[in-house]
């Protein structure tokens, strides 16, 4: 009679163990890092490329960099980018030295997923100068 009782307890323990195994697997799978939303990132990347291409279309981007007019560059990006997108732009020369003396951004990049776009810029000036523009974007909403 006692042996049967113990068998029952063991079975209960085994059942609990089985439930624990399945439950812990479920817990682990729920706490897995969620896959970043690539469609959202891709649209942000396209948006950034479009904005830089538009700004560079008639050589404005190169001209603003040459004149070191960082305020106008910030304003231009503010106008071209939709609301709810935060940006940070850095200009490098060919030796990867930072060119912009002031911070070019509208707010801190607070979004969970920040994307970075690299854009090569040639000026239309008589002495052609080459720069690399790095634009970081994030949805703030």
């Amino acid at each position: 009679m006692k042996v049967f009782d113990q068998k029952g307890q063991i079975r209960i323990i085994e059942s609990f163990l089985a439930i624990a195994v399945v439950f812990s697997a479920m817990l682990v799978s729920f706490t897995f890092p969620t896959s970043p939303d690539f469609s959202k990132q891709s649209s942000l990347s396209n948006l950034g490329t479009q904005v830089l291409t538009e700004l560079d279309n008639d050589g404005t981007l190169g001209s603003l960099i040459l004149r070191q007019n960082w305020t106008s560059l910030t304003t231009a990006l503010d106008i071209l980018l939709p609301m709810g997108v935060s940006f940070n732009l850095t200009v490098f020369d060919q030796a990867w030295k930072t060119v912009n003396s002031a911070i070019i951004q509208n707010s801190n990049l607070l979004g969970p997923e920040v994307i970075s776009i690299q854009y090569v810029c040639a000026t239309r000036s008589q002495t052609v100068e080459l720069f690399v523009v790095r634009l970081q974007l994030a949805w703030t909403g």
Partner: protein, 262 residues
């Protein structure tokens, strides 16, 4: 009796193992659950879209940059710079582009147009027939090999600032004449605005710029058309006029014409 006892023993053994089977099944279920989750994560991660997007953007970026390099070079050459500046600038651009694509290999090649009227990709025609042109023609081939795909893009860049002028004059008295000049500025055959328009007239092999004392007036019609008028003394009926224009891109062009007496 023995058979009955044997069947009972078998059933007991099965009952004894059922807990272990339950555990094994639980482990299998857990591993299936975890591997399915991992698979979903990996599939999401291996999206090739980002690379394709960045490749398209980079190709467009380089094409636009090539145009800027050509424009800048033409601005330099047309303002008195050396013809070799075009090749030097394009060489620099080519090597710069070779190091800028983060997802693979980027090779930009160019050739300068050699067919008449171009020589080493450059054509400067500042003639006496009322027409002037400053032009550069270059062909580009850009190959990009990414992780998943390869793209080759061929294009040409032809930047031309042209100027067309015509002039009439009429005698005011024995020596003074009123001269009118009509000026048309074009960028790639499309009317374009100028940053600077300077009119000259020639008397006894010397060039003069008309000013207020000549009652000089320059009017812009806002569509690339300008008209200028001035009064000057000319010893003969032969009135030669020149116009020097710098367009908004900084490209310089000159045209000369003999004014027609009306």
């Amino acid at each position: 009796m023995d058979r009955i006892r044997g069947d009972a023993g078998e059933k007991m053994r099965q009952k004894k193992n059922s807990g272990q089977i339950l555990l094994i099944a639980a482990f299998i279920m857990a591993s299936l659950l975890l591997s399915a989750q991992l698979y979903i994560l990996e599939v999401g991660r291996s999206s090739g879209e980002a690379e394709t997007d960045s490749l398209d953007g980079f190709m467009l970026n380089v094409k636009q940059g090539s145009t800027h390099v050509v424009v800048g070079s033409l601005a330099n050459i047309s303002n008195g710079g050396s013809d070799s500046i075009l090749d030097l600038n394009l060489q620099e651009w080519k090597s710069f582009i070779g190091t800028q694509y983060l997802y693979g290999k980027s090779v930009l090649n160019y050739t300068l147009h050699e067919s008449a009227p171009y020589s080493s990709g450059i054509w400067l025609y500042w003639g006496a027939s009322g027409i002037g042109a400053s032009s550069v023609y270059a062909n580009f081939t850009h190959e990009v090999s990414g992780l998943r795909e390869e793209i080759e893009q061929s294009y040409f860049t032809n930047i031309t600032t042209s100027l067309m002028i015509s002039s009439t004059n009429h005698m005011l008295n024995e020596t003074a004449r009123e001269v009118n000049v009509s000026i048309h500025v074009l960028n790639e055959a499309v009317p374009a605005l100028a940053k600077q328009v300077t009119v000259y007239y020639r008397v006894s092999n010397s060039s003069f710029i008309p000013n207020e004392s000549n009652d000089f007036r320059l009017q812009s019609y806002g569509n690339g058309t300008y008209s200028a008028s001035f009064i000057a003394a000319f010893p003969t009926a032969n009135v030669e006029v020149s116009t020097h224009v710098i367009d908004l891109r900084g490209i310089s062009v000159l045209a000369n014409v003999t004014s027609i007496e009306v």
